[in-house]
């Protein structure tokens, strides 16, 4: 049960409460749930089974990190370097994720201290900007760093907690935390969901659209016409990646510690569906209904975003009187902290599994080195948050890498390792009957699904709707050019829609910081690949020694 809670904790993260409702609002409300569920059934569930199976297969052969789990499944040497994504992605994400986690810790304490009492919405929003060192316009301003000391102290405390728990290992640390954090998270979530649903129109008098039920109505009203919109499908599939933590390498690492005949099919389902419960039942009933209850539907449609959790929600809670505001603040930020820490702990395991296996480091040493690495990688996101470094990390490690890694693992599992052997691996020791249709889905549907997502994200045209694709192909045929969307991978990688200016009046621009952060991330990937190369040579040497 501890492992399932740890796996569910890995999947349940900030995205369940902050990303899912926002994605739903931005992609047509009720229509979003249909592509979301289709993606879950055709991509999410197969990937969960595949990652559990790959992890167990590698684990029983002494491999607890994705480079060598991949190596054990594929014959070609290159697979272990593809597996580097499974460590790289986690190192990149954990760096900025721990920082967000520290915000939730600080805001829990601020809620206890009733720091938001008597503040208006603008003041609560400004308080967050001050906390994160956001100042608005950066034009012609000398590079200044104004992140308050407390924000850095909170980050160091959060990092310290993570490293301490990681140093205690899977059963001694992570599973114990999951056993406490997951039930608390659900209790807090249920409390807030009840508050959100029961708010109704009682929030603001005289505001016709201020009704939490209108928020629910918008989230759940089916609009079938948007099913033909590729943008909605891409957003839904992207959310499945985020929410299940597939394509990251964490599931492989946890699963590498289960035994040969342990059930993985049921465990994967149990953890996956627990995540869906938290996201669809609790996540959908908190932020949007409460925000609509006070700010109205139009405001939420226009302003829904990740930062709403810190810039708006504390103000909304303060409308409930001091006792309920404190309770709700503790429940909300405590819930986010627990969701965050159970995920960040999972992100620490791939690196630790790798260095423990390949270089024989002890848990304490691995945890401390991991902590130093996170600190080095996180500092630019904290100090230059305003300059786009945070978003840059999120885009490359938290978005692009996931799809690349998932595309690679599905090809490796279904086509290189072979679906016949793969199916045996998934179903061995299973306490549930895995539907045979999934054999076909794993071989054909999931790989095509992921490749379509990857190619679509790679060359996405401006606005990305169905008619935009038609116009883009027409433009390609007639003019030989392609209208790149700003967030398409190619446009991002080559700065196609923006001028490359590193310095303006001798002052580094946002572009400079973005490119430097890419360089840093690239160095991490190359460094990890080099470590995998050394580890591989060490393995060969030791097998030769044993033979001789």
């Amino acid at each position: 049960m501890g492992l399932i809670l740890a796996m569910a904790g890995n999947a349940v993260g900030l995205g369940n409460f902050l990303r899912f409702p926002v994605q739903a609002v931005q992609n047509g409300g009720g229509a979003f749930i249909i592509p979301y569920f289709v993606s879950f059934l055709l991509m999410g569930i197969p990937l969960l089974w595949i990652e559990w199976a790959m992890g167990r297969y590698g684990g029983i052969r002494g491999n607890h990190s994705t480079p060598f789990i991949f190596d054990s499944l594929g014959k070609k040497r290159a697979w272990k370097y593809v597996g580097v994504f499974g460590i790289f992605t986690n190192l990149g994400i954990i760096s900025y994720y721990t920082y967000i986690e520290s915000w939730t810790l600080s805001y829990t304490l601020k809620s206890v201290a009733q720091s938001f009492a008597g503040l208006d919405r603008a003041q609560v929003s400004a308080a967050f900007d001050t906390y994160a060192g956001i100042h608005g316009s950066m034009t012609d301003r000398l590079m200044d760093i104004n992140v308050p000391g407390w924000a850095i102290v909170a980050f160091l405390i959060t990092l310290g907690i993570n490293i301490y728990i990681l140093s205690k290992g899977l059963s001694g640390g992570i599973e114990k935390v999951a056993k406490i954090a997951m039930p608390l998270l659900i209790i807090f979530g249920v409390f807030l969901a009840v508050m959100g649903i029961s708010l109704g129109h009682t929030g603001v008098t005289g505001c016709a659209t201020c009704n939490s039920h209108l928020g629910l109505e918008f989230l759940w009203k089916p609009k079938f016409d948007s099913l033909a919109n590729p943008k909605v499908w891409l957003a839904a599939a992207g959310q499945i990646f985020f929410t299940l933590s597939v394509g990251m390498g964490t599931i492989h690492c946890y699963a590498a510690y289960v035994r040969k005949n342990d059930d993985i099919a049921l465990n994967a389902m149990s953890a996956g569906w627990m995540n869906e419960f938290v996201e669809i039942v609790l996540g959908a009933a908190i932020v949007i209904p409460i925000a609509v209850g006070y700010m109205g539907l139009d405001w939420v449609k226009e302003n829904a975003g990740f930062m709403m959790a810190f810039k708006t929600i504390p103000y909304l809670f303060s409308q409930w009187g001091s006792v309920l505001a404190t309770l709700s603040g503790v429940a909300w930020f405590g819930l986010l902290f627990f969701a965050g820490i159970t995920s960040s702990l999972a992100m620490g395991t791939p690196f630790m599994g790798f260095v423990e296996d390949e270089f024989g480091w002890g848990r304490n040493k691995s945890a401390i080195i991991l902590g130093i690495l996170i600190l080095i990688l996180a500092l630019p996101t904290i100090l230059f948050f305003e300059y786009g470094v945070f978003n840059e990390y999120d885009y490359w490690t938290g978005t692009v890498s996931l799809v690349v890694f998932a595309a690679a693992e599905i090809i490796l599992f279904s086509w290189v390792f072979g679906v016949k052997k793969g199916w045996e691996e998934i179903t061995r020791g299973s306490d549930i009957k895995v539907p045979n249709i999934y054999k076909f889905i794993i071989k054909w549907i999931t790989p095509i699904f992921i490749l379509v997502i990857f190619v679509t994200a790679l060359i996405k045209p401006l606005h990305g709707e169905w008619t935009d694709w038609q116009l883009a192909f027409h433009q390609l045929m007639t003019k030989g050019t392609w209208p790149w969307a700003n967030d398409s991978i190619i446009a991002q990688a080559f700065h196609l829609n923006e001028k490359v200016i590193w310095f303006k009046n001798g002052i580094p621009t946002g572009m400079f910081f973005k490119d430097m952060s890419r360089l840093l991330l690239m160095s991490v990937f190359i460094g990890l690949s080099y470590l995998v190369h050394i580890a591989s040579k060490k393995r060969k040497l030791s097998s030769k020694t044993i033979k001789s």
Binding site: G2, K221, W273, V281
Partner: protein, 48 residues
């Protein structure tokens, strides 16, 4: 809330709750396999 939104919400949330509960109960009721070691033991393998 409109009827269509309410029906979709109850249908989706109800199904998710039921399926989650089904798998959770199944996990809790399934006896530990005798030929397997616990994760705890497996986790200890990496302790140098």
């Amino acid at each position: 809330m409109s009827t269509s939104a309410l029906i979709l919400m109850i249908l989706v949330q109800g199904s998710v709750v039921l399926i989650t509960a089904y798998f959770l109960i199944k996990v809790l009721k399934t006896p530990t396999k005798s030929d397997t070691e616990s994760t705890e033991d497996a986790g200890e393998q990496i302790e140098p």
